[in-house]
Symmetry: D2
């Protein structure tokens, strides 16, 4: 599990006084980016190699509302990985009391720049897979 | 099914040149609002009656990317309704060729302003339920 | 002056219960796009011709707050045009009473894909300039 | 001058491959919030005291584009302060080379919850003014 911390921005709130639900997917994305960075892969590298990784599925279950100025922890864990796709699960945790505000999932597939499904090439695959296996081994303990 | 049309805004795109996936949930919301309006219920009325309707679940499956300036049709259909919750499903359709770009679902629950689950009161329930039953009857034909 | 109408989205509100001020620049952009379309120029065409048009200045004066569900009219008028830049001014008008909610300005410059200032080429220049002159002539009446 | 650091989010980019210009106003807001926090005033306190502080003017001059993943420093300095209004200026600095990407300004006024102009009360005024004077004294050195 890779986690990053952030603070709820004023602009992320809506007229109900809570964070608008669409923003959680932006936080999930930040968690996914942080996970890939921890694995040694920057989005820039993928894009420069003409590898596109569109989202094909996301979902989120909301338990409690994040509020303006809340400090949150965005936790990302890879749950499946092949040359064709990568799945993640996420938790958004309120730092002051550890409450899990939301949990979610995503799937990215790998395509070329024409949108055709492709298979992730050697170096990228190896780095991501190594980190995925390491994470899985750690979670078993 | 209630549908509204819109045009993809430039700001909704990301550096991949397609609409960022988080924006679909904003379109779903516009569809949900339009459905409730068709049923005779404005969000303002609910809020003025201290009825809050937080999202507890959303998901989206992405099939093709919406692009800048695409004309889209946002289609919302209620799939379940009780005094405690309302579920919707959505389709985002590209107008020029009828392609379904994405499909999704959502659940709202009804709470009071303290966040406690409540049961939707008479007039609101009746209007929404009447439209829901009408919609279901039409879909069977 | 070219105008388009829109309705304030729920997601555009913030916890003060009004539209967040950053959204007005998204509306200005929609107005600018509509103006250029009226002049016969689509952003796609410019991008396909490798003409980039970054914003170098924007500003907005806010008079009254737009609220959720308000129907608004986004009015865009070109105020200066050369081969190197285009300036616009904007008004956001609340439809139900004609109140001017905000007024703003923007400047775009034309660059090539390396970010170097360039000069707008023949056909694009001619179409935009023709519409600009037509608009100016009409405003004098 | 109060500054905070952040990293450009993927969702903040647009199809030109750069940060959409409207996002800078969200960064300015984060800088303004950080400045007020440094002065000992949280937005929550103002809101709980029924003090509203709508934006009446913002502007931004863009020099270079922020890119995805850029580490940026958001710098906020108060430039004028009375019981009726507060003005700030901002710089967005790219951390890796110190380049100033954008500079801007804002004005907030103080109103009551009915939108009527009010005058900032004792404790809030004193804390903000003390920090403003301290900042001005430091800048003179």
């Amino acid at each position: 599990m890779v986690s990053i911390c952030d603070r709820v921005r004023y602009v992320e709130t809506d007229m109900m006084g809570v964070v608008h639900h669409s923003n959680y997917f932006r936080w999930f994305e930040m968690g996914r980016v942080a996970w890939l960075r921890a694995a040694g892969v920057e989005l820039w590298e993928l894009m420069n190699a003409n590898i596109i990784f569109p989202i094909t599925h996301v979902e989120c279950n909301y338990k409690e509302s994040a509020l303006y100025d809340d400090e949150i922890e965005i936790c990302a864990t890879m749950t499946a990985f092949t040359r064709a796709k990568m799945d993640f699960k996420y938790q958004i945790v309120r730092k002051k009391d550890g409450a899990v505000l939301a949990e979610g999932e995503s799937r990215n597939v790998f395509t070329d720049s024409n949108g055709h499904i492709t298979r992730l090439s050697g170096a990228f695959y190896d780095r991501i897979n190594a980190y995925y296996l390491k994470e899985q081994a750690e979670e078993k303990h």
